[in-house]
Symmetry: C2
Subunit: 153 residues, 2 copies
DNA sequence: GGTGAAACTATAACGTT
DNA sequence: AACGTTATAGTTTCACC
């Protein structure tokens, strides 16, 4: 897909808020015919613009009330160390996000656990039981002001 | 909903990865009857454990290649200032996440824009044109190691 | 907790401009 | 080549057992 059209963006804006809408309703809300609507959504899926359709769960309702931003810096930055870190991040379900930021060997992680006890276990297994970390600083999230997955398309 | 059962967790694990699965397939994969499966999913929706069903879009494919973690600290922390900040965060589509962290007057924001130009506009309108900010530090995201919305239930 | 039937929807094949 | 139309198979949803 070379570039998104305004039609595509309109579809994405709706589907990013509610993907259970029927094709007919989606077509109405975006001002296109049902057949065009259906074909464009398909094209967005095949182009990978829409990567999946998922249920969003509420962290509080799912009893994940210990949330933190964890900043870690790798003491060593050789390929093997970095690869092992990335693999582990991918496998840990408690880690929802991990971003590398410019200008440092820092990674910003979003971590969710049930409680402090579970976080401590995570910390011991993942962060402490490794020689690859320089500094680890945990910032407890006290309030979630905003958390959306809708991209500003 | 008092507490999630193992059945509920099984349903959530599947639906958080694919919500277009049919009730029959979902029942098979979670080892319950179709009627029980359907009723429990309904209960999860009504209890707000499942908050919505959405399409996930790929930021690169949607041409949102300027991503940053922005740390801001409020210079003033009176109710009006904080409220205005929270309102603005809610209205800005570029801000996907905003967390308050313990022990500081800091907020961690996840921001996505098309490019630097768009971010500069955002910065000028949102961050600079206000007297309420103490420090603002932007950390450009160079690599997304992981980004999922699936909670570890 | 199971069963079945009705209404609705997705999907693809076929026509049309 | 893009759009509209139609038929059908499949799914959701609800009432009842």
């Amino acid at each position: 897909m070379v570039q998104l059209t305004n039609q595509d963006r309109a579809l994405l804006r709706v589907l990013q808020e509610d993907c259970r809408i029927t094709n007919q309703d989606l077509a109405e809300r975006t001002g296109m015919s049902t057949s065009v609507c259906w074909r464009r959504v398909r094209a967005l899926e095949e182009a990978g613009v829409i990567s999946s359709y998922v249920a969003l769960a509420d962290p509080d309702a799912a009893d994940l009330k210990f949330r933190a931003i964890v900043q870690v810096s790798l003491a060593r930055t050789d390929t093997d160390t970095v690869r092992a870190f990335i693999d582990e991040v991918g496998q840990r379900p408690e880690v929802l996000q991990c971003f590398a930021v410019a200008g440092t060997s820092d990674y910003h992680l979003l971590v969710m656990c049930r409680d402090l006890e579970e976080y401590n276990r995570f910390y011991d297994e993942f962060l402490f039981e490794r020689s690859c970390f320089g500094q680890v600083s945990m910032h407890l999230i006290t309030r979630t002001i905003k958390s959306v997955v809708k991209l500003p398309v």
